[in-house]
Amino acid sequence: MSEREPIPSPEAFRDEVVKSYSGKVAKKRAKHILVNDPEVPAEIEANVRTIPGIISQRGCCYAGCKGVVMGPIKDMVHIVHGPIGCSYYAWLSRRNQAATGDGIANFIHYAFSTDMQEEDIVFGGEKKLAQACREAYALLKPTAIGLYSTCPVGLIGDDVHAVARQMKEELGINVFGFSCEGYKGVSQSAGHHIANNGLFKNVVGENDTPVDHPFSINLLGEYNIGGDAFEIERILDLCGIHLVATFSGNVKYDDIAQSHNAKLNVVMCHRSINYMAEMMESKFGIPWFKVNFIGADSTAKSLRKIAEYFGNEDLTARVEEVIADELAKVVSVRADVASRLSGKTAMLFVGGSRAHHYQDLFSEVGMTSVAAGYEFAHRDDYEGRRVLPSIKVDADTRNIEELHITADDTRYAPRRTPEEIAAAEKRGFNWRDYDGMMSQMKKGTLVIDDISHFEMEKLIATYKPDIFCSGIKDKYVVEKMGVPCKQLHSYDYGGPYAGFIGATNFYQEIDRMIGKRISKLITPPWKKQSA
């Protein structure tokens, strides 16, 4: 065997990889690739348009709106206004799950499209869309209907909002539209924002039935991929915390309509739903803070923070009891798995929060995340919310509506007085907090925003991590390179990975993936001789 070449420093890697691009592209991409310093996170370029011809992981505005945020609401019908592909591709492909039974409607197995044809493009498709609403209503009697615009819709001037108003009146259920054409914004992130706005304007606050529970919360930014929300529901239930609505995994329309009556909002995926948390605080006075149910210790920490917020002794005791019980089951598996995985390396390039959250699970088994980045996050998800005032708003962002919310005339009821908030802060209790990914990653690790396919291949070839976390688009490339790839979008048909049971599942899954020896079979014996 030849002597192994020295491993390049992250700085050398960055310089080398951008050199492969032309001058202008190299200059742009260099701003997305940083060598981390957790003490002083540097400014990263994020949430800007992907360069044509650079193969990106990113999707579109429609995907973020219908596919991510709205699609999981289970008793709604979602009608995609456009040619057929857009609806088909978002048909269950995120693996978000929804419980059914007891008369609860679950329509997530349906994919509706107006299936626009040439005559609709030429003459307009509003009538077809209205008729589609009638047909879907006749078929399923949903609680509400959402209408989603795809690229051609904005161009031909179809007004989904006008159709929605007309259908709301005619059908007597809530019908609302989204102008989430795929070309808007720079990624699915624009769609998250548009979905937040639409949900806030059309659903939140529609049902004023009071929530009669002392510890009621909403869980924002949890989409129940692989059953994560089921596990979080189980834990909250054990603790005696009442979940009013999850945005939007395993949720009913009415839960969201009533969510303004909860006492607290906790945020999982900051990127996709922080808008909602902010708007609900402004309009209804519900405070919010960030939680993370990915990782057993992170789950315990999040539960303790919720208990601290409510400041009730019984609740605190119950939460401690649940944590003790659940952790007892986790630690033996964790210790066993860590005995094999400790010191191994992971890379995570996914989403707008998972590339950060899952680092907790890896560190729980002694692994180091040596490179990470988001697909569609913004600077605040990397550097923390402290940079929010200094983020420059470019044309792509300016085109996404920003709602200006004021306190509701009758329903604004601050759950905490300014004095209580200040007092808690003094104790070290953080509100509206998110410190971002970079402050948690080690010095000298690589942070790469909107990693290109090309950069990913170089990164893996250079550093050969023990595991790479990404999505299905990269999975088979990574595995052909002999590195196991865990899909953190769809969970590779597995899950849940949230909460305590989820943590155990994840440790075991990573143990299986890193421990497998199949790659040893790649080279046949007759080719090994000459090596």
């Binding site: 999707g59 456009g82 197995h109 690229c151 688009k473």
Partner: protein, 460 residues
């Protein structure tokens, strides 16, 4: 008389659980069968992402697709600079041998002059690799059309006429990598040089390698496609294609075209082998080579298949089936079913060809014994299946909810198959593919009989 039923989905206000997907997906699949090709989708970035993720979930193989990533200004003013930049960046990163450009609904809706823009780009930079363009608006056709239009675009851009050469062109249609490999093997057995377009048998079913190739090996070299206009003949598979890409070669370069149904079943495979034998005869004419005979291994496979038909007839005879898939696959599979005594009561496709019923009549299905649904969605297919109550469904993974809801077993064929592994290795064609299909059909029926029997049959 075949009875087209239900309102076609595109005429209905809503497609509920669509049975077709968009045109650029078919185009990208076809481009994947050209050696060293990087597909580039002109328009919205999300289309490239969605198409990649969907094809990957079927093939479980890398599938890189680039995008020109329109922003709002490109949407208003056109994407000329995006296309130029994308091509430049792709060449720099991947050094592709050819770039295949197809279009999204966005580019087509704004009336982008992609041909003109590409002409300018290639004139300005003569060193660029060949670029092949095909318009793929999904509001005019689905993946089936996108696939065939792309094959035709490749031929139009590349095929040249001239003195006849001994090879045969094979246009297989959107079949599986395993099917493509088997077709290659069959043609080779006739000592017939082959030009198959496209050929993604290796690019979408490749090995794990010690070193990774960003553009997977395999595929038909563009230089060879140039000879398509000089072939002894073209064999075009697909019973529902009106003209198809092969007609272009015949018209433009005088290459004789033989159209055949997909070789599924004994008779359909016999017909394809006879065509190949005729081509081999033609190709060898004037040389000292002896007249081609059907190779022994193919005869042996045929013999085993017929023997299996005899053995399994009692399990399948008279059972009623519904077949769902791309029009040519659905027709081919229905023909096979009829041959073994299964009764196809419903043959359905999301595509609209207006020719499925005729093709089935030609395959000898008893007139009036079956219904055809073209332009259908799974909601209408599911309703009809519920009424017809067949014993078995043959179709892609999207037919699973219907199968589950009605308790009717499903044998997975075609595209997409994303809830089983080995989609790329599903062999549908030839005596060997038919054998596999027959065994699976008979066993699915037996499984169902055992599982649903109170007595618990354990010996059949």
């Amino acid at each position: 008389m075949s009875l087209p039923i239900a309102v076609p989905s595109s005429k209905r206000p809503a497609a509920t659980n669509s049975c077709r997907v968009c045109a650029p997906l078919g185009s990208v699949l076809a481009f994947r069968g050209l050696r060293g090709c990087m597909p580039l989708i002109h328009g919205s970035q999300g289309c490239a992402t969605y198409i990649r993720r969907y094809l990957i979930s079927h093939f479980r193989e890398p599938m890189d697709v680039a995008s020109t990533s329109f922003d709002e200004s490109a949407t208003i003013f056109g994407g000329q600079s995006n296309l130029a930049a994308a091509i430049k960046n792709l060449v720099r990163q991947y050094s592709p041998e050819v770039i295949g450009v197809c279009t999204t609904c966005l580019a087509e809706t704004i009336g982008e002059d992609t041909v003109g823009i590409l002409r300018e780009i290639t004139t300005a930079d003569p060193d660029l690799p060949p670029i092949i363009h095909v318009a793929t608006p999904s509001f005019k056709g689905c993946q089936y059309r996108g696939f065939h239009d792309t094959v035709e675009a490749i031929l139009r851009a590349t095929a040249r006429g001239g003195e006849r050469l001994p090879h045969v062109n094979l246009l297989p249609g959107p079949v599986s990598p395993a099917d493509l490999r088997h077709l290659r093997e069959i043609v080779a057995a006739f000592d017939l040089p082959l030009l198959m377009l496209p050929d993604y048998s290796e690019t979408l079913d490749g090995p794990s390698l010690a070193s990774y190739a960003p553009i997977p090996e395999g595929g038909t070299p563009l230089a060879e496609v140039a000879d398509a206009g000089r072939a002894t003949g073209t064999l075009q598979l697909g019973a529902t294609l009106a003209d198809g890409p092969g007609a272009y070669l015949e018209r433009e370069h005088g290459v004789p075209l033989v159209k055949a149904s997909l070789p599924i079943g004994v008779r359909a495979t016999d017909a394809v082998l006879e065509s190949l034998a005729a081509f081999a005869m033609e190709s060898a004419a004037g040389t000292s080579a002896s007249a081609p005979i059907t190779p022994a291994w193919l005869s042996a496979e045929r013999g085993r298949l017929v023997d299996a038909y005899v053995d399994g007839h009692k399990y399948v005879s008279g059972k009623r089936v519904a077949v769902v898939g791309d029009p040519d696959l659905a027709v081919g599979v229905a023909g096979f079913c009829a041959e073994i005594g299964l009764v196809p009561v419903l043959v359905a496709s999301g595509a609209l060809t207006h020719r499925m019923a005729t093709a089935l009549d030609l395959l000898g299905l008893a007139p009036g014994s079956f219904e055809v649904m073209e332009d259908a969605d799974y909601d209408s297919i599911g309703r009809r299946v519920a009424e017809l109550k067949p014993d078995l469904i043959l179709g892609p993974s999207k037919a699973y909810p219907t199968s589950r809801a009605l308790g009717i077993p499903l044998v997975r064929i075609g595209f997409p198959v994303h809830d089983r592994i080995g989609a790329g290795r599903i062999l549908h064609l030839g005596y060997r593919g038919t054998q596999r299909l027959f065994d699976e059909v008979a066993n699915a029926l037996l499984d169902h009989q055992q599982d649903s029997s109170e007595m618990g049959y354990a010996y059949q």
